[in-house]
Amino acid sequence: MACQNDCSTTPTDPSGLGGACEAAICTRRRKGWRSVVRNFTPSWFSVNMGTGITSILLHNLPYNGRWLQYISYILFALNVLLFVIFLTISALRYCLYPKIWISMVRHPAQCLFLGTFPMGLATIINMIVFVCVPQWGGSWWKVAWALWWIDAAVSVACCFYLPFVL
């Protein structure tokens, strides 16, 4: 088995989500922004998914109120902010260290989390449709539509490629 030596498949951490077993590996690289960039796994986009779906739920709650709407707008703004930050760090990661990209795509658990990127983006598109388009009108439908095409393309790439190399 190709991944047997990899600590992510040992019983302590089969998730590849980060845990005790890797603690020893990169202690020497723990400091500084480079370490943050190097260790920034795609699973961080699951934060966008979680935050996005919470904002969507609060926006569409059957028994709703004005204050819930405001909380949902705040979560939406937070989600967009986090998404931009995560996207920047991810772009840095794979531009500065292209080898990490190859290693990540080949990693049996990590590569699956690439799917969280289009899903995180999808929650943002949902909220653009729910909030920005009715409130501001104008060309916001173009923004939503363009983002959706990107999202669809990326998700198809994930769905068609990743199960194939699984």
Binding site: T41, G50, K99, R106, A122, V165
Partner: protein, 261 residues
């Protein structure tokens, strides 16, 4: 998987519900597409988006069902998932919840768009049929999701203590999209059941979001989260390259020293 694994040799024990992640992404794109199609000002654009979304749904849902079968086999023939990935037992709710919501929403858009664009012209009620079929599919998928929700809750209750990691975000999204499916069903049926249940789930997701957010910030503060397992390969290779260059230098130094004597 039978079509299979050109890179990693997986076995049934190493399989987790995380296999669903890349597949669910097209289902999420389909559901989002149905919402986007609803706000597009030109009906032709809406039709293109709608049909693309149906295809996206078709790429995701059946494949997710296939993975669910493998996952069920894994759960029944092997032990429970390891504690680090325990939360991934919630992931099956993702394709079922989002798939159900997506097909219902697509039906709603088809109801409006099909007659205007004369799609499937031989059937005068094509849009209505898609709409009803959407609700029918959604309520069945909702029922299947209920089974997986019970499995997930039972697994979590049974295992009790499991360490915090980024996988905990799996508590929010799958249950969240299942809730979206619940509240969308509530809009179609004259019963308070789905509405009340949807509200309860929504509150649960919000509380879980708070818990996981605090956990993430806390772990980040302690420096435990920014660890990438995939770096191990890269760092090992880098270390080897460094060693190789150092030993080469030593040899070079040795040779020059030798020739000097």
């Amino acid at each position: 998987m039978c079509f299979r694994m050109t890179v990693h040799g997986h076995s049934i024990q190493t399989m987790t519900a995380a296999w669903l992640l890349p597949i669910v992404s097209t289902i999420v794109a389909a559901a989002t597409g149905s919402l986007v199609a609803g706000i597009l000002p030109h009906v032709e654009y809406a039709l293109i988006t709608l049909l693309t979304s149906y295809v996206l749904w078709g790429t995701g849902v059946p494949l997710a069902m296939v993975v669910l079968v493998i996952y069920f086999l894994r759960l029944t023939t092997s032990n429970l998932p390891p504690k680090a990935v325990m939360v991934s037992t919630f992931l099956p709710l993702g394709p079922l919840g989002q798939g159900g919501f997506g097909i219902m929403q697509l039906g709603k858009v088809a109801l409006e768009v099909f007659p205007k664009t004369h799609t499937i012209p031989a059937a005068s009620h094509a849009g209505e049929i898609f709409y009803v079929a959407g609700f029918f599919t959604a309520i069945i998928m909702w029922g299947f999701g209920l089974v997986w929700l019970c499995f997930a809750v039972a697994t979590i209750v049974r295992s009790r203590h499991f360490p915090f990691n980024m996988g905990w975000w799996g508590f929010t999204f799958p249950l969240g999209v299942y809730t979206v499916c619940t509240t969308t069903l509530a809009k179609e049926v004259p019963s308070a059941f789905f509405r009340v249940l949807g509200t309860i789930f929504s509150i649960a997701v919000t509380i879980l979001w708070l818990v996981v957010s605090v956990g993430t910030l806390h772990s980040l503060w302690k420096g435990r989260l920014l660890v990438a397992p995939c770096l191990k390969d890269v760092e090992e290779r880098e270390a080897k390259a460094r060693e190789a260059s150092v030993s080469k230098q030593e040899v070079d130094v040795g040779e020059t020293a030798g020739s000097g004597v």
